[in-house]
């Protein structure tokens, strides 16, 4: 599976949020609920990453519980596409 780098994932997150009139903070520590990045946004981001890599992502159950910050999203996408 081809990896998607953090910069590319961050750019996708920015695009998703911009569409809703929201913006993405520059740091990784911001909480997703404060940013307004919802579970459906995470799902759409994962679909975009799949389209980019051409491979289906594999998840461990309960993945969403462990993702709280912008950095968690970037780490997760980096890990599952590595």
């Amino acid at each position: 599976m081809s990896a998607v780098d953090r910069t590319a994932v961050r750019r996708m997150m920015e695009e998703l949020l911009k569409r809703q009139g929201k913006s993405l903070p520059s740091g990784d520590a911001a909480l997703l609920r404060d940013v307004g990045f919802r579970s459906l946004d995470f799902a759409e981001l994962a679909l975009r990453v799949e389209m980019q890599t051409g491979n289906a992502l594999q998840f461990e159950t309960g993945v969403l519980r462990s993702i709280q910050t912008v950095g968690d999203v970037l780490d997760f996408m980096e890990r599952v596409t590595a």
Binding site: R33, G36, F37, R38, S39, L40, A43, E44, A46, L47, A56, L57, F59, T61, G62, V63, L64, R65
Partner: protein
């Protein structure tokens, strides 16, 4: 603002039915009627549905249901729970709720909590037909994707189908042209049948549909896999929900077709032989007209039936200008364990929809 999640099994009280009608009824107008909600959730012959509600105080702001449906793999019957009526008010889509496993996004908690509950309470399998985004959330909850490229023939009926192709101008123009050609073909077919004293048709109602449903119930929905069972209980319930439409050749009760209801219709059963092409044309034309009347946007035929020389469906489809098109169908499936029948290949048809 703090949301409270509650999970349980029906029957639902009137206030809860009204809560679903007020919320999810805005997404699917059928659910805007509490009586329809009661028929789906409380009067299902296979038991009450499982429900998750999100409430802000006393107000229902989110809901999700799993409807038990009888499924069949060969001679084995089991329960597959269909995910249905997922709704979370826009104001609460970034909210979290407390769960035994800790705080969780409200939409995810609605689904995951109810899936776990239904699987622990008797559902052997869960299935869901939904958007790619919701499907992704379900994959994160252990669902697999059953994919099938279905060879079908279609007639387009409604501009709603054109809206689904938005952004692709050439496809919209082609679809618009196809709709015009197919509409003209229907008019010509009706005129031809009328001029030649064509076969009459009957549309059985609840008082005289038993022979048709019994014949349909004897067919195997999924040789080699699993699908929704065609037991009489299932068929009667789907009829009450207006999910099955029957048209028969007048005076020949063995010659008939069954199509599912709803916006995307598909022939589920066809028994008009090739030796009666006018009867076949009359039945198919009537099914299409009834679909158009009900504002369906498409009618589909399985190409296996169209191509079968024993039946009249192929000739009727050609007269009505049905066009071949492969369709990607995705169903999200989660089995309680790897040894339940639902782990076998899923054979899709429109009876999976409610």
């Amino acid at each position: 603002m703090s949301l409270v999640l509650s999970i349980g099994r029906g029957p639902l009280a009137d206030a809860d039915l009204a809560g679903i009608a007020r919320t999810y009824g805005g997404v699917d107008p059928r659910y805007g009627a509490p009586a329809f909600c009661a028929e789906v959730f409380n009067r299902n012959p296979f038991g009450w549905s499982w429900h998750a509600f999100a409430r802000d105080g006393a107000e229902v702001v989110g809901h999700y249901a799993v409807i038990p449906m009888r499924a069949r793999a060969g001679a084995v019957r089991f329960t597959s729970g269909k995910g249905e009526a997922l709704y979370l008010d826009e104001r609460h889509r970034a909210a979290e709720v407390e769960t035994p496993a800790g705080p969780m996004p409200a939409g995810v908690a609605l689904m995951k909590g109810l899936h776990d509950f239904a699987l622990a309470d008797g559902a052997a399998v869960l299935h869901n037909i939904t958007s790619a985004e919701i499907g992704m959330l379900q994959r994160m909850d252990g669902f697999r994707v059953a994919k099938e490229v279905r060879a079908q023939s279609h007639v387009l009926l409604s501009p709603d189908e054109l809206r689904r192709l938005r952004g692709r101008t050439s496809q919209v123009l082609l679809a618009r042209g196809l709709m015009a050609v197919q509409r003209a073909a229907r008019v010509a077919a009706h005129a031809r049948l009328a001029l030649r004293g064509g076969a009459g048709v009957v549309v059985p109602g609840a008082h005289d549909d038993a022979p048709y449903l019994e014949a349909f119930s004897r067919t195997d929905p999924a040789p080699g896999g699993w699908s929704i069972a065609r037991d009489m209980d299932t068929l009667r319930w789907l009829r009450r929900l207006e999910r099955l439409d029957i048209v028969a050749v007048a005076g020949s009760p063995g010659l008939f077709a069954i199509v599912n209801g709803g916006r995307a219709r598909e022939i589920l059963h066809w028994s008009v032989p090739a030796s009666d092409p006018r009867g076949g044309l009359a039945v198919l034309a009537t099914l299409v007209e009834r679909a158009a009347r009900d504002r369906a946007w498409i009618v589909s035929l399985p190409q296996a039936l169209v191509a079968d020389p024993a039946w009249s469906l192929g000739s009727a489809a050609r007269v009505l200008c049905f066009r071949d098109r492969p369709v990607d169908q995705q169903v999200y499936v989660k089995a309680a364990s790897s040894d339940v029948p639902g782990a076998a290949p899923l054979v899709f048809n429109r009876m999976f929809n409610v």
